[in-house]
Amino acid sequence: MEWLQLRFAEGQADVVASDAPAQTPPPDSVDDAPARAPGDAAVPAGNAGDAGAPTADAVVRTVGLTRRFDDVVAVGGIDLVVRPGTVLGVVGPSGSGKTTTIRMLMGSLAPSAGEAWVLGERPQAFTAPTRERIGYMPQSFILYPELTVRENADFVASLYGLFLFRRRRRVRAVLELLGLWDMRDRRAAKLSGGERRRLELACALVHEPVLLVLDEPTAGVDPILRRTIWDEIHRLRDRGVTSIVTTQYVTEAEEVDQVAVIARGQLVALDSPGGLRRRALGGEVIEVATAATFDAAALADHPGIRNVRQTGLRSFQAVVDDAGSAAPVVVEAVAAGGGEVASVRELKPTFEEIFAALVEEPVEAPSDEVQQSPPQVIAA
């Protein structure tokens, strides 16, 4: 684990936030744009070239976004660009600043420093048409317990300016979509926790937003409902809807196109799930078992192998750029060094492990911790 953290620290420079407040004009707003290929959708503002330059096709852009509560820095200098059709997962431990960031993006909290543009406008000065293009699902249940499922959805649809016929159609559509139509006349107070979350999601979707912001939509819901929610988010992405989803469930990082890892108010990583894994490990890792004792140190200078770590007398880990193509190279290198490979496996740590490596203070972890995850065998 120390090694993972070391590697991550080296790569962190790419995404670490700037403390400088922005002096830049807002980007142009783009909506209804076709979905982008996952992996190229959200980038740190610092990676987008000049941090001050406007980004033409950004749905969300922040520069040095900071929020202090008295002397406490809840969010410190986040730079972020989210492109249309992206699902951005904001992952971080409880109290890390996820909700504060979301609230600043939604305009309910003013930044202490830095700036944000959402759909081309500063959130503090959202116009009504822009607000109508945003769907927001807050962290806590805020709907009205004395209203029925349909009345709640109808109320929110009215808030967003949907007139009667469209409202009826949309309310029915979202309630059917989320499996709530059959309980449309049930009061919200009588719903289970999962049903309430679904109702809130329905309310966030009812006005067909182009930007969907979901603050921990899967918190406290069962795995089946969690799957339903993610399927819906993916379906919306396919229709060009941009989503920003916060979650405490690190495993859900697999569900998004880009993962923003926030810890202690800082954006500590922003990448695709695969990129995040590579970043955390310093590349892809293959674990090699040899038939006899083998000193792997000599392999460190071998072309295609970025780093080597001896993990036992007859085992070592090699960091490579691409595990699939590098495995034969490693086998050959071992053979050239007089050894014999018994097995080669790609080491694929879980996101919990990656996440812990990214956000936690350096901790003493047993060396076999990484190996607790079932490794994927790519060669034998």
């Binding site: 609230r103 939604m106 305009g107 309910s108 909290l109 003013a110 959130p123 503090q124 009504a128 048409p129 607000r131 109508e132 945003i134 927001y136 807050p138 806590s140 249940f141 805020i142 009205y144 929110v156 808030l159 967003y160 300016g161």
Partner: protein, 392 residues
Amino acid sequence: MKALLRILALVGKELIEVMRRPGAVISLVLGPFLILAIFGFGYHGYRRDLQTIVVLPAQSNMTTDPQEYDSLGATGVRVIEVTQDRGAAEDRLRSGAVDLVVVIPSDPVATLKQGQQAELAVEMNQVDPVQANYATFMAQTLTADINREIYRRGAAEGQGYALEIGGQAAKIPPEVIASPTTAKVVNLAPISPAIVAFFGVAALALVLQHMSVTLLALSIVRERTGGAMDLFRIAPIRATELVIGKIVAFGILGGFIAAISIGLLCGLLGVPLLGSPALVAATILLLLGASLGLGLVISIISDSERQAVQLSLLVLLASMFFSGFVLRIEEFDPIVGSAAYLLPVTHGIALLQDLFLRGAPQHTWQLGALVLITAALLSVSWLLLRREMRPA
């Protein structure tokens, strides 16, 4: 032992919860204290002297100096004007500018010589049964004071008085000699309502204000504590729309409750409705508007449901004391009495009592005052709500 532990845990939790809501604690402790202090310092308990016009008969050579009549020493009555124009005096009585009109008979001596009591017509314009009884009592006192003055002057003038009535004294009945003048009290108000009618209408105004203040205050506080205000900050809804939506909703509810209450008052308790129903509706609308504005202000300054309820109850307490519901505003210190007119219900009570029991408002300026209070409270609450809906 474990039961004691659980009880102590509950006690501790409750005390901590209360103490950690400073607004609620302040309103809980200071609120009633402040109201009672204002009441203690502002209420003197003295009834104001009844402002009286004395109407002299035509071609009377009696003095027109009000001080001369005041010097009779009638307790609780203050003569502010002496006139021969009875119609004008009655107009002022009807408008509420004065409390009593005392009409002096044309030739009291001749009446006395005929062995009859000279009858003073004492006119008032009261729908308040308590105040009407008081005015009647004061009329009797006035008569007694006049009779006493007659005796005093008779004694002072010695036999001149006896000589004046000459040998006819024997014809005068003893009761006339004992009480040469008597008072005939006339109430110019359309009706003399029963206690239940008078206070029933006042209670209606009080209930409408309290209901409106409490419901709206709680509604907004619940929006805030439930998180809906976060949604409102993000959704394309403006503070103006929120204020109008709340006012209209609770206005409809208040109007519905008012209609039912009026139906019960008139149908079951027999309270007469002499005024225009449209004007009654307009007054209730204004009262509801001002009360809802007050509720909005309370909701915005309250940090919890508990504090909102406390502040609403404080408004009710202040209204009970200062609005004229029980104690007349005139019995308060002028500053406190003037402040009472800042309460919507002060005007609501007066206007509704007049509309129900007189047929028309005695002080139409109170309608304007209600409009001003409504506008001021709604403006303040709108500004506060707009500020609350801005990014924190």
